[in-house]
């Protein structure tokens, strides 16, 4: 039998051993977390690059409706390739509020198309009739047609046409540019406004691992 004093000597030894085990375990977890963090960071960074590529290659301004669907497709591809959870939320600056049916029609949805017509010029097309309100849209996308020109640090926006008896308000983010545009009298058609800033689309990127231990969040600004 060991004496009481000898047993007391063993206690610090046990304590030391337990501490070492804890250090090793914590080190292992830290490395595993670092590997996950690297993966999340690389994925987030790559998504940003991809979104900028999509803008530069006109995949978002190719005169097709519902381009926001491409962000869902991109997020699905990243989810499948990396096993991470990816959310991409686009937020276009220009949108319309249709007075006659109360609908808000945003760029990037089925009610809008964007066309890159020249290096610093874009044309935005909107449809004012709304399926969800029981109407039958004609999908001619000319209510209104807006020409957007990037000039230095400003965007010059011109209403080129509005071919509908309906009236709409035109917004840049939360800034009302024109109200009661269109109608049979083609109210405000031909007018131009300049807004401060050249931002056209913001995409929020959110990447996380399924355990929720590592997260990456950023906003890509496209102009």
């Amino acid at each position: 039998m060991l004496s009481g004093i000898a047993l007391l000597l063993m206690l610090p030894a046990m304590l030391l051993a337990a501490s070492c085990f804890m250090i090793i375990e914590t080190g292992g977890e830290a490395v595993s977390l670092q590997a996950t963090a690297d993966k999340v960071f690389h994925t987030g960074d790559d998504i940003e690059r991809m979104i900028e590529n999509m803008w530069d290659e006109n995949l978002l301004a190719n005169n097709e409706p519902n381009v926001n669907g491409k962000f869902d497709e991109l997020a699905d591809n990243y989810r499948a390739a990396t096993g991470l959870l990816v959310d991409l939320t686009p937020s276009w600056m220009l949108w319309i509020h249709v007075r006659n049916n109360g609908a808000n029609h945003y760029t990037g949805t089925k009610y809008s198309k964007v066309e890159h017509v020249a290096p610093e010029n874009w044309r935005y097309y909107f449809e004012d009739l709304d399926e969800e309100k029981g109407e039958t849209p004609d999908w001619d996308y000319d209510e209104p047609i807006l020409l957007v020109e990037k000039i230095d640090n400003k965007l010059r926006i011109t209403i080129e046409d509005y071919t509908s008896p309906y009236h709409s308000d035109i917004y840049y983010s939360d800034q009302l540019l024109w109200d009661y545009v269109g109608g049979i009298e083609k109210n405000h058609v031909g007018e131009t406004i300049e807004v401060d800033g050249v931002l056209q689309l913001e995409v929020s990127v959110y990447v996380r691992d399924p355990r929720g231990a590592v997260r990456y969040s950023s906003t890509v600004e496209l102009e």
């Binding site: 004093i5 000898a6 670092q34 690297d38 690389h42 790559d46 999509m54 995949l59 390739a81």
Partner: protein, 161 residues
């Protein structure tokens, strides 16, 4: 002889010697557990994963990936494979081997890009028998139809074939 009359001091007692022995055994065991194998297990994989991620990043930054994508779009599969092989061989250290796949597993645009041309069966066996494999994945837009597809790079430590 009774311990009560022993005047040699505690450090020379049998109890203390046994206790010190137990302490030393425990400490040696712990020290062995935290040896180089464990350190490699923790950091070696991390380094391997970074090699893979950095290699794909370099391919993007040097425009090599764009050239490979364009070659694939033109149907020049073999040239695309050779270029990918050469670029990755230059980027990755000699003891790190790789397999690159572009596209999904069951219908890839390019697959079986290994560190040397030919000998696919040997490389495939080396890949399947590797102790640990790190993976880096990216998504890219592929011409001419402009669809998304994945790029997957597997790396492992092993000898050149």
């Amino acid at each position: 002889m009774s311990f009560r009359h022993d005047r040699r001091g505690f450090i020379f007692s049998l109890d203390a010697t046994l206790a010190m022995l137990v302490v030393l055994i425990v400490m040696t065991g712990v020290a062995r557990m935290a040896g180089p194998e464990l350190t490699y297990g923790q950091h070696g994989y991390l380094r391997l994963e970074r090699y893979a991620n950095d290699a794909l990043e370099v391919m993007e930054l040097t425009d090599a990936m764009n050239i490979i994508k364009n070659l694939l779009a033109q149907g020049e599969i073999s040239e695309a494979g050779n270029l990918a092989e050469n670029v990755l061989r230059k980027i990755l250290p000699g003891e790190v081997q790789f397999r690159l796949r572009i596209g999904v597993e069951n219908n890839p645009r390019l697959d079986n890009v290994y560190p040397s041309a030919g000998e696919h069966a040997e490389w495939r066996a080396a890949f399947e028998n590797a102790d640990e494999i790190a993976v880096a994945a990216r998504v890219s837009i592929f011409p001419p139809e402009n669809v998304f597809d994945s790029i997957t790079l597997y790396v492992w430590r092993g000898a050149m074939i």
